[in-house]
């Protein structure tokens, strides 16, 4: 029988649809009965989505200014050298 820890071990494969049908069904059955694992799968999904959303932000002006500064320094050093 599939226990909570077994489910936790293959939770990402479940979320990504990588499991074979019997395992998938076993997880679905377990989730019907176990609210802790429902929370865990839900939270792991949000954690996964967080990565999509987090990486899509554009560079900000502070980074641009930092780059300007480093270039200005390097150009000055080049002129001296």
């Amino acid at each position: 029988m599939l226990m909570c820890k077994d489910l936790a071990e293959i939770a990402s494969d479940y979320i990504d649809g990588e499991l074979a049908t019997p395992q998938n069904l076993a997880i679905k059955m377990h989730l019907m009965m176990c609210r802790h694992c429902r929370s865990f799968i839900g939270n792991l999904r949000v954690s996964t989505d967080l990565m999509h959303a987090h990486s899509s932000s554009a560079p900000d002006e502070a980074l641009m200014r930092k780059i300007d500064q480093r270039i200005a320094e390097a150009l000055r050093a080049r002129k001296k050298g």
Partner: protein, 206 residues
């Protein structure tokens, strides 16, 4: 924009860069950095990606003299970024490696009892969507911090697969890991993010 005009203006920009014209650099940084950052984020966590982009611009000051215009400026810049990222990944290969036989992060594994049930179940449910959670700047900063602390291969797997939605086989090629080990890397990295968000949501601490 008309391609011919675009080529002319790119040519003028390249000449200005070769002459070390500071304002030309400022224009180029604003035009090309967002694409360069997107490339760096294929490979690295956000803060390392920003560092690489900064370093690349400094490299460009010398390298631009060797730019022969066989490709567009943008492609050339993206290639510099990609090469730097790959080198960084390679040089970090001797890092603490992930134990591929363990599917669970040790901290999470400790939360189950001997009969494999939850001893310390998830302490709360993340009710908000990822987008809503990220509106909290402190959580976003905390995420950056934890991403930086992940073992490099876990982080790269997470960024390549999750954030940039590369296909699994591409990620395996870039990171030189088997498909099953990639699954372990992804799962382990996601658990770290889960544990981080749980602590943050519960206590506000990072």
């Amino acid at each position: 924009m008309d391609t011919a005009v675009h080529k002319d203006s790119e040519h003028a920009l390249i000449e200005a860069l070769q002459h070390g014209d500071g304002s030309a650099y400022e224009r180029a940084v604003r035009e090309y950095s967002s694409g360069m950052l997107a490339v760096a984020r294929f490979y690295l966590d956000p803060s390392s990606a920003e560092e690489i982009v900064q370093d690349c611009w400094v490299t460009v000051i010398d390298a631009i003299h060797k730019f022969e215009g066989r490709s567009g400026l943008k492609t050339w810049l993206h290639r510099i970024v990609a090469n730097r990222c790959k080198n960084k990944l390679r040089s970090n290969k001797r890092e603490v490696t992930t134990d591929f036989t363990e599917a669970l992060d040790p901290e999470l594994a400790d939360r189950f009892n001997a009969s494999r049930r939850w001893a310390q179940p998830p302490r709360l449910r993340f009710d908000e969507s990822a987008d809503t959670l990220l509106e909290n700047g402190a959580l976003s900063d905390c995420l950056d911090k934890h991403l930086s602390a992940l073992p490099e291969t876990q982080r790269s797997a997470l960024m390549l697969y999750e954030a940039h939605q590369h296909k699994s086989e591409d990620v395996c090629n870039i990171l030189d890991v088997s498909a099953s080990n990639l699954r372990v890397l992804l799962h382990r990295a996601r658990q770290r993010i889960f544990l981080m968000v749980e602590t943050f949501q519960e206590s506000g601490e990072c």
